[in-house]
Each structure stands twice: as structure tokens, then as C-alpha cells.
């Protein structure tokens, strides 16, 4: 009988090369009747984070957060929700990360202060120690949000702590765990929860540049309901105007994310629906450079941007 860890590795290999629809039907059927007790555990750690991604995860609508942690996954630890505190937490983390408490996935929110380990400590140990040890025992890691995916604001110009992404952290210490990056500042709750459902029920989702392809295959601009305005050259000239926001500095043309079709806050709205230019919060270059402001006049906006190219 194939055990869960081998299975996930197999699923990872299959998922990397095939869209899920291409999996043999017997395999996908087997996955759907997994014993709930074998659902992998999630350990959610915060590094140099603002908790904005965690708060965003609570805004999930369908499935909502309670459904996610009681039906689709098992959240063994989260700083903001766990009743356990103090030494209980340190014991729990040690039990899992030593490999003695069963299989688990790691979810990491925030950047890792590679140059100054003391800039993020849990109990008495730098978070880097926990993450390094986890590379040996975890089934895989999910980088939650732009800080964990790319470094984000802690790694912006002026970076005092040597803050890096989870991927760069593991590269630096020569580890190659299975890693999925889900950027966004904050992350959209659907992007995370639905990736986790996929991991638990089916295996690794199709990835593109380490991001789940389902959410990050198209640019905001391509999907934007104001693309028509762009084509007709109906541009917002000042803040508060309707029309294409490109001349105000909208970074939709440089940012991979499905915000225009998914919307935010239970489908209530999203940035561009509120006439707010996209600030490229899911981009590897988000907030990275002092000389690249979020908002620009028409001349500089037209002069090209350092965003991600397809």
C-alpha cells in the first residue's frame, strides 16, 4: 500500500507534467475517498509578516475559513487562532518538525530575515531554524503572499534585515522542498484555500513560475473589464475618474493575477472597480524600488515599467 507521503510525491510528479484532468480516473477517484484522518496537517508560520494574508484568509466566502479548517484541511497551528500558547506551541512545532507527529505541509506568511536571524524569533529560536529543519520532514511548503513569495516590502530597497522569499531562503541553504508560491499583498483567500483543497484532494496543481496556473496565468490588464476603455483610449486623467487607469500608473499590464474576474471581499468589489489603480501587489517587483512610485503622471507611465514580462 502506497503511503501518503509517497503518494504526494507521486502526485507532485504527475501534477507537474499533466493537467489534473489528464490523471487516470482511478487515481482521482481514489483521492476523493481519502480517510479524513490522513488529511495532511497544515502548520502556518508567520515570519516577517503583517498578518494581512491571515486576515485575508478569514474573508473567504465559499468555502469559508471554518469549512476549510474542519473539512478540507487540518490547521494544527496558527498564531492567531490556536488556543495553545507558549511552551505548548514550541512542543507542538518540535513534534511536527522533528518528523514525530505525522505528515504536514508548511504554510509561511512573511519574508525571512536571512541577514539578521534575530529579526524574527519564535520562542527562543529564529524562524530560519524552524524552516531549515522543516525542509527535511515536511511534505511541501506553501509561500503565502508576496513577502513569502518574492520578499515583498521587507525586502524592498533599504532592506535592513536581508529579508528574502521562502524560495530564496531554501536555495541559500541548499534545500529543494516542494514549494508553491501564492503571491498577493495581501493574498486572495481563494488562491490559497483552493490550492490547499487541490493539494489535499488531488495533489500538486499545475504551476507556472512556482505559482498555481489556475490563478496566475493571465495579467490583470488582459482580464480587465476596462480593457475596452484602454482600446478606445478612454483614460482616467485624475484620481477618482472612471476609465482605464493606465495613465495614473495602473500596473495591471505587468501583474499576473485573476482579480478582474474573481473580485475581492466576497465579490463585493476590487481595486479597479473602485477606480483605484492596480499597484502590482502580486508582482515580483511589488514596492521594490524607491524610484518606481505606485502613482505616476501620464509621461512617466508611458515610459515603460520594470514589471514581470510574460
Amino acid at each position: 500500500m502506497i503511503n501518503r507521503r509517497d503518494f504526494l510525491k507521486l502526485a507532485a510528479c504527475l501534477g507537474a507534467s499533466l493537467p489534473i484532468a489528464g490523471l487516470p480516473s482511478a487515481v482521482s477517484a481514489a483521492l476523493k475517498i481519502l480517510d479524513p484522518e490522513s488529511v495532511p496537517k497544515l502548520i502556518y508560520l508567520q515570519a516577517q509578516s503583517c498578518t494581512g494574508c491571515s486576515v485575508s484568509l478569514l474573508q473567504a466566502e465559499a468555502p469559508d475559513a471554518v469549512t476549510m479548517i474542519t473539512r478540507h484541511s487540518k490547521l494544527v497551528f496558527h498564531q492567531d487562532l490556536s488556543a495553545a500558547s507558549g511552551k505548548q506551541v514550541l512542543d507542538l512545532l518540535d513534534a511536527y518538525i522533528s518528523g514525530n507527529a505525522g505528515d504536514y505541509f508548511l504554510a509561511v506568511e512573511g519574508a525571512i530575515p536571512l541577514g539578521m536571524p534575530e529579526a524574527c524569533v519564535i520562542g527562543t529560536k529564529p524562524i530560519a531554524d524552524y524552516l531549515g529543519a522543516a525542509a527535511e520532514t515536511m511534505s511541501g511548503a506553501v509561500a503565502i503572499g508576496t513577502c513569502s513569495s518574492y520578499g515583498g516590502i521587507p525586502a524592498a530597497e533599504g532592506n535592513l534585515t536581508g529579508a528574502v522569499s521562502l524560495n530564496d531562503f531554501y536555495k541559500t541553504i541548499n534545500k529543494k522542498p516542494l514549494l508553491i508560491s501564492i503571491p498577493g499583498c495581501p493574498v486572495h483567500p481563494d488562491w490559497v484555500w483552493k490550492t490547499i483543497v487541490h493539494l489535499v484532494k488531488i495533489g500538486l496543481p499545475e504551476l507556472k513560475n512556482t505559482r498555481p496556473a489556475a490563478f496566475f496565468s493571465r495579467k490583470v490588464h488582459e482580464l480587465c473589464p476596462r480593457y475596452h476603455d484602454f482600446q478606445q483610449e478612454i483614460f482616467a486623467e485624475k484620481l477618482g475618474d472612471k476609465g482605464c487607469l493606465f495613465k495614473l500608473g495602473c500596473l495591471g499590464p505587468d501583474t499576473f493575477a485573476d482579480c478582474p474576474t474573481r473580485w475581492w471581499n466576497c465579490g463585493q468589489t476590487w481595486c479597479i472597480d473602485a477606480n483605484a489603480p492596480c499597484i502590482g501587489c502580486a508582482s515580483p517587483m511589488f514596492a521594490a524600488k524607491r524610484d518606481f512610485p505606485f502613482y505616476r503622471n501620464a509621461e512617466t507611465a508611458m515610459s515603460g515599467t520594470p514589471g514581470e514580462k510574460s
Binding site: 496537517k41 486576515v55 516590502i153 533599504g158 477606480n275
Partner: protein, 503 residues
């Protein structure tokens, strides 16, 4: 004996507290902020309009408060003429953010200190949420998992509510509040663009026009939140208070109080506010002088000079500095240690006779609980002051929506001056929040944030005076020195946010 009670969970970020316990009494406490990023350095040399975006990332729990403080500071620096609608939209966003935050704090961050989550195992009713939770917990407890029913178990040892009805009702509302907080955040996102981290907030207004479509949705969502506050949050809080009356006497901080005042009635910088500002020292409320604020770093991990005023603030990290035990600085007002937050906000307003509803609510609840207003300085007092804030804010927001003129401007034209400076003072849900911006050559020359948890979780100042939380812990009796549920309840009553405190 010395015992670390961290990482303290159910609060934002990385907090450890080193306690010294003798004969079950905490005789010393050191509050240790354990995470540092360096926002004031990231902001240098940037376009000033970046600030209300970057500073929101200090804290994803109260990002809107940072956006508002930054907007106020920029409005002052730009000498911006804020349209009345612009100020109202800021208020609608910020106020709704307070409401979500109070619910999140009471149910998700604090309730498990008091409510017995295992009560659900014997639930016999028909509520689908509770039945599902019962089956889920029972199944987990019967399994061979290493940590069954996490994250709700294990928990700290101690006394929990024994009344089944109170426990079951609170657990039902724990789940329900997760739906209600989404409504509060949907309301603020209407004008902010999304929550967390609004993209629609600018100095002097918002990008989303307040048309009927937007206003009607906002009102409907806030009415639902208000209903929950009155009919579930307040009764649950009073039930917990009834079960643990000793917590009106536990967790007093030993300094003064300060509130910057919350939610201006008009667009002008000196407009009066729904909750009045002031600093409370020795029983007297005084007008706040922002140049009386300094930040000590003798016990904080910085090599930059100590005792600097806000406009001169400096940030050089020194993780190995001798004697330093926290990344949090120690702000002081004219040398005084202060508590900020809900108790400060309500007490400062109450003692000035500012808001009539605040006075009525405080007097009414003080009567129910048989306490004096000074006992708002306690674990339960902080919880009650959040609920009082929630009641007056919800009414104010609905009233503000009636003041909008949809045909008038909602965002000013913004021109960044070559040079300028400005302070932005407001109340985040966790307390007094200050932003300061100085502009030179159209760029940010200096930016400083003095944040609520910086005050509350500060280490010793240069004179050795403990911070507000430290002072509230010292002298507390704990049944189990290894776990200290009593200390956890005190810490949670402050609702610390360490990402804010250090930033």
C-alpha cells in the same frame, strides 16, 4: 523563577514575555517584541503618495488606520483642502475597520481564554454549525492524531466558564462573528477597493464616488454588523464578565492614558471628533502636545540615540545590543508611561463629558457590573470599552452616510509640494496612532510612526519604568506559573499587535 510565556498566541505577531514568578506572584515581566522589518527606512526617498500604501503593510489587521493616519499627515504636509465627502469616506472606511477588529478580538483572539470549547462535545441541539463542530471535535478526540481538534485544543490549564448555555451560545457566535466581520470589511472595501490593504484611500478622500449604489450597500452591511453588536457581542461580553468578575480588578496598568480622538465630524484638521482627544495624567485630562512624545531605546535593540522627539526619530538596528530585550521602542509623554487603546479612548472622552452615549453606556455598564469608572483600567474594562466604542461607532457611521452629498467632490486634486511636514493623529482600534511625514525635493525625507502597541508593549524606558503591559502583569497572582492563563488574559485584553509595535 523565570518563565517565558511566549510565543503568546491569539494576538498579532511575535510576542514573548519573560516573567519572574515567586510564590505564584509575577514579580517582574519583560515584554519582548521579536520581529523587525524597518519601515521608516523603506519609506525614505519615496514618492510621498506611496506612504499610505506602504504604511498599511505595517499591519494587515488594522491597515486602514495606518492609511488614515498617513493621509492626515500628508493632508497637513500638502496643505490640502479636504472636501467634506472625502472626510466622510475616510470615516466610513476607518469606522467599519474598527467594528470588524473588535469582533475579531473578542471572539477569535480572546473568547477561548474564558469559554470552554469542549462544551460542544455534548451539544444536543439542531444548529448545523454546532452539530458539525461537535462531530468534528468528537471524531478528532477519538482518533490517534497527535494534536486532535487543533487549533482549538490543546489549551492552557485553568478555570473556564461552566454554564453550558453561555459556552454554547458563545461558540455559536464565534462561528457567526466570522461571517459578520466579513460584512464589516465588505462595507469598508466598497470605498477602500478591498480589505486588507485598501488601494482606494488617498489623502483627502477616496477614488470610489459615494453614489447610491455604494451608500445603500454600505448601510445594509453596517446595519447587520450593528445588530450583531447589540444582540450578540454585548450579551456575550456581559456573560463572560458575570462569570469572571475578578477581572474587573486584574490587569491594571500603572501610568497615564492617552487618546488622539477618533472620527472627525468635519473636513478641517481641527474638527471635533466622535471621541475626544486628550492625555490623562494624575486624574486630569490635558490637551496633547505632539512634541512631548519621545522614544527611549536603552532596552530596545537599536544603537540610534535615545529620547528623540518624533520629528528627529532615528532607526539603526542592533540585534546584539547589551541589555536590550525587545525590538519595541519605549515611547513616553513628557517622560510619563501611558496606556493607549480602548480604555484610554473611552476614559479620556468620559472624563471630559464628550460623547453623551459614551457617558450613558459607561454609567449603565458600571452599574450592572458594580464597578467605578476607574476600573475600566482592567482586563474586563478594556473589553467593555471596545464594546462601547463599537456601539457609538456603528451609529456614527450610519449617520455619516446621511451626510454625504453625492453630487459634491469626494477626492481633492493632489499636488506634492517641494517641501513640507505634517502630523497625522488618529485612533487605531488598538489605540493612539501617530504618523509624521517630512518632504524635501518632492520625496519623503523623514517618516515616523508611533503606534499603539509601541506604547502598550514597550520595554523599560531609560529611567527603568516598565511599559503599560509590563506594569499590568507585575503583581498578578497565577495558579500555574508554567502556563499563566491569568497573564495571557491580561496580555489579550491589550490586543497587542507586534507588527505595528515594531514595524
Amino acid at each position: 523563577m523565570k518563565i517565558d510565556i511566549g510565543p503568546v498566541t491569539r494576538l498579532e505577531g511575535h510576542l514573548n514575555i519573560n516573567t519572574t514568578v515567586e510564590n505564584n506572584i509575577i514579580i517582574d515581566a519583560k515584554s519582548m517584541g521579536e520581529m523587525f522589518r524597518g519601515f521608516e527606512v523603506f519609506l525614505l526617498g519615496r514618492d510621498p503618495l506611496d506612504a499610505q500604501q506602504i504604511t498599511q503593510r505595517i499591519c494587515g489587521v488594522c491597515p486602514y488606520a495606518h492609511a488614515i493616519a498617513s493621509s492626515y499627515a500628508q493632508e497637513a504636509a500638502y496643505r490640502l483642502k479636504t472636501p467634506p465627502n472625502g472626510r466622510i469616506l475616510h470615516n466610513l472606511i476607518q469606522g467599519a475597520n474598527h467594528l470588524y477588529d473588535y469582533l475579531l478580538h473578542f471572539y477569535q483572539l480572546s473568547a477561548l481564554d474564558f469559554i470552554d470549547v469542549t462544551a460542544v462535545t455534548g451539544y444536543t441541539g439542531k444548529d448545523p454549525d454546532l452539530s458539525h463542530l461537535r462531530d468534528w471535535v468528537n471524531h478528532a478526540l477519538g482518533s490517534k492524531e497527535s494534536y486532535p481538534a487543533a487549533p482549538f485544543l490543546p489549551r492552557l490549564s485553568g478555570t473556564y466558564v461552566t454554564d453550558t448555555d453561555i459556552n454554547i451560545t458563545a461558540l455559536k457566535h464565534y462561528v457567526e462573528s466570522l461571517e459578520i466581520q466579513k460584512k464589516a470589511n465588505r462595507a469598508s472595501a466598497i470605498f477602500g477597493g478591498r480589505f486588507p490593504h485598501a488601494t482606494g484611500i488617498f489623502p483627502g478622500g477616496c477614488t470610489r464616488p459615494p453614489d447610491i449604489d455604494a451608500i445603500a450597500s454600505y448601510q445594509a452591511l453596517i446595519r447587520d454588523v450593528k445588530h450583531f453588536i447589540h444582540h450578540k457581542y454585548l450579551p456575550d461580553l456581559l456573560a463572560v464578565a458575570g462569570a469572571f468578575p475578578e477581572y474587573w480588578h486584574i490587569g491594571q496598568s500603572k501610568g497615564g492614558f492617552m487618546s488622539y480622538g477618533l472620527l472627525p465630524f468635519g473636513p478641517e484638521p481641527d474638527s471635533s471628533r466622535l471621541l475626544s482627544p486628550g492625555v490623562l495624567l494624575d486624574g486630569k485630562v490635558e490637551t496633547i502636545k505632539s512634541d512631548a512624545i519621545t522614544e527611549d531605546v536603552k532596552f530596545a535593540k537599536y544603537s540610534s540615540p535615545s529620547g528623540l522627539k518624533v520629528a528627529q526619530g532615528s532607526l539603526t538596528p542592533a540585534p546584539h545590543k547589551k541589555g536590550a530585550y525587545s525590538w519595541v521602542k519605549a515611547p513616553r509623554y513628557d517622560g510619563h508611561m501611558l496606556e493607549v487603546g480602548p480604555t484610554a479612548r473611552i476614559l479620556v472622552d468620559y472624563l471630559q463629558g464628550g460623547n453623551k452615549t459614551v457617558k450613558q453606556l459607561v454609567d449603565r455598564f458600571a452599574g450592572i457590573a458594580d464597578i467605578r469608572p476607574e476600573q475600566l483600567n482592567s482586563v474586563l474594562g478594556r473589553h467593555l470599552c471596545r464594546a462601547v466604542s463599537a456601539v457609538v461607532i456603528a451609529d456614527f457611521l450610519l449617520d455619516q452616510t446621511e451626510q454625504i452629498n453625492p453630487l459634491e467632490p469626494f477626492i481633492p486634486e493632489i499636488k506634492i509640494p517641494e517641501a513640507g511636514e505634517g502630523f497625522g493623529l488618529t485612533e487605531a482600534s488598538r489605540g493612539a496612532l501617530l504618523h509624521y511625514i517630512r518632504i524635501k525635493k518632492h520625496k519623503i525625507d523623514h517618516y515616523e510612526c508611533v503606534v499603539p502597541t509601541t506604547w502598550n508593549c514597550s520595554p523599560r524606558d531609560d529611567k527603568g519604568t516598565p511599559g503599560a503591559l509590563e506594569s499590568a502583569l507585575i503583581g498578578t497572582w497565577v495558579e500555574d506559573p508554567g502556563q499563566q492563563i491569568e497573564a495571557n488574559r491580561i496580555v489579550h485584553s491589550f490586543d497587542p499587535c507586534l507588527a505595528c509595535a515594531v514595524h
